[in-house]
Amino acid sequence: MKTLPLLLLVLTTLAACTSTPRRYYPPVVEQGDAAAGRDEVPPGEPLEPGASRPAPRATRAVVALLDQARAQLRAGDPDAAAAVLERALRIEPRNPRLWSQLAWVRLRQDLPAQAEQMALKSNALAGGDARLQAANWRIIAKARRLRNDADGAVAAERMARDLEARRP
């Protein structure tokens, strides 16, 4: 019985130096593919209307990533496509086509506000490329419609038509 106090001491010290294992995972924050299934791009088609050929400046690496993003979008995974396009943008941050593609993917990710901003960024870099700018205004129109801004959408569509009319 002499050991009882000792035992209690051991018990309390042991209890004090242990920690509780817990498994808690924070939730995945990014949007799922709620937008998947909408605006399906037919296989073989470019992501964004009007960009049928790779931009002249695009390096092989960027072309490979664009292909990968297209495949992921077709597979209904716009989040993965967005990650790949961001990777491409790290290689060519001033390529307006990449920004435009990302704008399109943001629509598919159900992020219309960001889609509009990405399209504006693309336009800021697009120089005199009226065709690309028109495509971006089409994206902006879509984004505004998704945000219930009908007037804004009409204005954007007018911009797109004006730019398209400039072409021979």
Partner: protein, 763 residues
């Protein structure tokens, strides 16, 4: 009677004695119950420890992976630095992952496989050829071109509590079989046969110890050693040993052999690195050899296994001879047990210890940057999860830029520090287009944790705020152009009941100057006058759009930067300017994966246009002219003429703060120098911070800044004196962009009219 009485008493006593056993049995039962409870308690303890250790994993923090593609701007020596930091071994013929051969500017390597947030990168055989500071060709082993590949990312830190040890968790299947076999052969040959304790081993140890007359051999099984490691105590009492033996038996009842072995491999104490205890073969391998355990050869495996017996006694860095003997003994046992052949033993015996120190000048710990990462993570995760859930944090840090920044800052401060030993500094480098933080220095000694000036030093910003005044003006194209004349003559204003007479840095007035010149030369009086025309509220609105969050006092002194901001906050403002008017939140994290490599969270790119393209171009042009002909013109001569660098110097009263914020086509860097006690230190923005900036960009290379030009822009040659449209007679006019909504300045004929400066001189 007396007798009778005695007998009676005796018999009573006997009867009493017969009654007594029942409480004794109760007591025995109680003792047994207590013992059972105690065993149950021990069982619970050992279970908790085992499960707790199994899952308590600090978050690991990674730098950006190096992307390889043709056209990549990178010098072969910088590439070699990165490989060395990653622990790649330079060999003559690379065969295994983590090996590289170099022949001048040609490399051949086998990359390590790695799981990223956006998919897996397999191990690849790559051939690279550099030309100058550019990757010219990239192919696979069969010389087929490869479009894109990426290396495994550099691990730059882990997030663990002060008490917690750092660990790299290994799965048993990741551990080389040779290591497992050697460990069992050396430490516990009966491991797969015993039930936690081995009487045979104890007997053998006893015999050996008796023979030697001292303790030369232990009889502890791996399971017992594991238990001992769980409760890390130097107590060697019999009670302790009994407890350990009991817990070892309990552990074996609960878990199978492989689970115990896996825990052992991750738990065993191997070294002490300052405050940090090195537990487990995963971390031990990195600590001693700078490489993952999968890539160890036989000699190194034997060295590590040998250290288990006495990590400090056999420490190969302190006692190389002792460690070598121990390693060779392990090799002999491995051969005797048939784990390796005699030839392999011979080869390994003659091998050097193979210790690798962390590469010089390419340190891998960046506490100031990890501090920023940690703060960003705290917004989304609980501290507990960061220190125990084994998260993988993929950050934006670019080691190449970080190393260049650390060198530039340390070198320049050391040079200035001869006159100013108290001089401190901080800096951030970001990617101009997406807001990723590439490098961060929180003080002159970048490798040390401590006061993180980049985030926490709030200092007067001085002229760094001036672009907000000029941008506010340029957003009114009908009123202002870059060539508008503004007055830099003496000025008196009443502010807060006091009369304020702003002065220029050179204590003189410059009369009428062109708007861009006010910014380029950082004229205080012209800027205040312009600000008053615009209104302080309008300038505050601009600052808010650019990204200033904190309080701003609506006083005219704000035009001259009378507000305190941290280098991080300044970087956010200039980020908007460097990305052509798109506010881009600064990010230090790309993604977070959980322990099983499932994405938990991404931090996607987001932008917000806050300045229209036309004024964005006008202010960029003005910032380029700061470098071309203004306060930062000392930069112009140091970089190629067409680099088009843009930036702004900042100096505060009494030379207490020296700032420079500048960008090229790809990167923005903000540098601050000053003293922690806010005493004068004698450097202007141009003499101090700008020098660090120049050093940094010389090391990491500049990319040409060619701002996007909107369609509603016209370029005109402008006479620097009058601000008029220049004719052929005007010497050295300045090319300025104008909004098509602006009225153009009147043409001047330089041939006809006498020079304005002549007029001024005659006045």
């Amino acid at each position: 009677m007396a007798r009778k009485k005695t007998r009676k008493t005796r018999s009573r006593r006997r009867r009493k004695g017969r009654r007594f056993p029942i409480p004794w049995i109760k007591l025995a039962f109680a003792a047994l119950a207590l013992l059972a409870a105690y065993i149950a308690f021990l069982d619970f303890q050992v279970y908790r420890q085992f499960e707790g250790k199994r899952w308590s994993l600090p978050a690991r923090v990674y730098a950006r992976p190096l992307e390889l593609y043709v056209g990549l701007a990178l010098s072969p020596s910088a590439f070699a630095d990165e490989l060395r930091a990653l622990g790649y071994r330079f060999v003559s013929r690379p065969r295994r992952p983590g090996e590289v051969a170099r022949d001048g500017s040609r490399f051949r390597l086998v990359t390590r496989p790695f799981r990223f947030w956006d998919g897996a990168e397999p191990s690849r055989d790559l051939r690279l050829e550099f030309s100058g500071a550019r990757l010219e060709s990239l192919g696979d082993g069969a010389r087929r071109p490869v479009a894109l590949a990426r290396l495994d990312p550099l691990e730059i830190g882990s997030i663990h509590t002060a008490r917690q040890e750092d660990r790299v968790l290994l799965r048993l299947s990741d551990v080389p079989p040779e290591l497992v076999q050697a460990l069992i052969a050396v430490e516990d040959r009966d491991f797969y046969r015993h039930h936690g304790i081995s009487l045979r081993a104890i007997g053998r140890a006893l015999l050996a110890n008796l023979r030697a007359g001292s303790v030369v051999q232990g009889g502890s099984t791996l399971t017992q050693q594991l238990v001992k490691n769980f409760f890390l105590s130097s107590d060697r009492s019999l009670w302790r040993k009994l407890n350990e033996a009991l817990m070892a038996l309990l552990l074996e009842l609960r878990y199978d052999k492989d689970e115990i072995l896996e825990a052992y491999i991750n738990e065993i104490y191997l070294a002490q690195d300052g405050q940090r205890a090195i537990h487990g073969f995963g971390l031990g391998s990195r600590y001693y050899f700078q490489r993952p355990v999968e890539e160890l050869d036989t000699a190194r495996i034997a060295l590590l296994v040998g250290m288990v017996k006495g990590p400090s006694y056999y420490n190969p860095r302190r006692h190389p001879e002792r460690a070598r003997e121990r390693r060779n003994l392990v090799l002999r046992i491995m051969r005797e047990q048939g784990i390796i052949s005699r030839a392999e033993e011979q080869r390994a015996r003659t091998a050097p210890l193979g210790l690798v120190e962390a590469a010089e000048g390419t340190s891998k710990t960046f506490p100031a940057f990890v501090d920023l990462v940690r703060r960003q993570l705290r917004r989304d995760y609980r501290e507990d999860d960061l220190t125990s859930e084994g998260l993988k944090i993929f950050t934006t840090l670019d080691p190449q830029v970080q190393w260049a920044l650390q060198k530039s800052l340390a070198r320049r401060i050391a040079a200035f520090g001869r006159a100013q030993p108290e001089l401190q500094g901080a800096a951030l480098v970001t990617s101009a287009s997406n807001g990723e933080v590439l490098a961060l220095a929180g003080g002159r000694r970048a490798g040390f944790a401590g006061f993180n000036r980049a985030l926490d030093a709030r200092r007067q910003v001085g002229s760094l705020l001036k672009p907000a005044v000029y941008l506010t003006a340029l957003e009114q194209p009908r009123r202002y152009t870059l060539a508008t004349r503004i007055d830099d003559g003496p000025l008196e204003i009443e502010s807060g009941g006091e009369l304020w007479r702003p002065e220029n840095y050179d204590h003189s007035f410059h009369g009428e100057v062109l708007l861009y010149q006010g910014l380029a030369h950082s004229y205080n009086v012209a800027t205040v006058r312009l600000g008053l025309e615009l209104g302080v509220e309008a300038v505050i609105r601009t600052l808010r759009r650019l990204g200033v969050g904190g309080p701003l006092r609506p006083w005219p002194s704000l035009f001259l930067g009378a507000t305190e901001l941290s280098p991080l906050e300044v970087t956010q403002i200039y980020q908007t300017l460097a990305s052509g008017g798109f506010h881009t939140p600064l990010r230090a994290i790309r993604a977070v994966l959980d322990e099983t490599d499932q994405p938990l969270q991404r931090y996607p790119l987001s932008v917000q246009r806050v300045v229209d393209p036309v004024p964005a171009l006008l202010i960029t042009r003005a910032l380029q002219l700061v470098v071309a002909e203004g306060t930062a013109r000392s930069l112009a001569g140091r970089f190629r003429a067409d680099a088009g660098l843009a930036g702004k110097t900042g100096t505060t009263d009494g030379l207490r703060d020296s700032w420079y914020a500048g960008f090229d086509g790809e990167r923005l860097a903000v540098v601050w120098l000053g003293r922690d006690d806010n005493q004068p230190m004698g450097l202007t923005g141009a003499a101090g911070a700008l020098q660090v900036w120049a050093d940094l960009f010389r090391r990491s290379g500049v990319s040409v800044l060619r701002p996007a030009v909107p369609e509603a822009i016209e370029w005109h040659a402008i006479d620097r004196e009058t601000g008029g449209l220049a004719d052929n007679g005007c010497g050295d006019p300045v090319q300025l962009p104008f909004s098509t909504a602006s009225a153009l300045p009147e043409p001047v004929s330089c041939r006809a009219a006498p020079r304005r400066w002549l007029k001024r001189l005659l006045r």
